[in-house]
Symmetry: C2
Subunit: 113 residues, 2 copies
């Protein structure tokens, strides 16, 4: 079970899958769309997702090379399930941030003695 949920344990995976929600994208487009991801991590993430069958990788033999990534049916179903968590996060964002503030006020960092 953990091996499966590892799919989403990696934060980049959900972001990449989410970015491909309703359109096929090239490597470079994904790189620009998913802000903050390095080329290395994008490559590794895409390999994982392809291996799991969540997306397909299509190479068009041309110059310059053109590689497109498209969400599979399976990938779409994951997105549906993950959306529940995304909605939860959005709905409780303020509440959680308030909780953190209160906690931090009540539990100040240990002072130097």
């Amino acid at each position: 079970m953990l091996r499966i949920l590892g799919v989403i344990g990696d934060k980049w995976s959900i972001l990449v899958v989410g970015t491909l929600r309703d359109r096929t994208l090239r490597f470079g487009e994904l790189h620009r769309a998913v802000t903050g991801i390095s080329q290395r991590m994008l490559t590794l993430t895409l390999r994982q997702l392809e291996r799991d069958g969540l997306l397909t990788r299509t190479v068009h033999a041309s110059v310059p090379p053109r590689v497109e990534y498209t969400l599979t049916e399976l990938g779409s179903t994951l997105l549906t399930a993950a959306t529940a968590l995304g909605d939860w996060a959005a709905a409780h964002r303020n509440e959680i941030e308030n909780n953190r503030r209160h906690y931090d006020e009540a539990h100040p960092p240990r002072a130097r003695r």
Copy 2:
């Protein structure tokens, strides 16, 4: 958003929350219930969850000390959302493992040259 989803990005968090689904547990009980977690990580995880308001920490002044952890209402709602993902993982577990096998067969590890 990422700061919020970080709640579940840490694999121990979901396991701990899930373990507290329907019962209050003491530190030691959690330690035994969540197999593989170190004392250190359990402590850190519990602090995070408490800070976010997903569970409450109750100290009973007695000898020996007795500290109980209980899921909050907020924690329960997270569990509900997370369950959607858990169900997805369970439902597609075989499919994904098949995909991985096929991928690994088609993409053997690079041989030494």
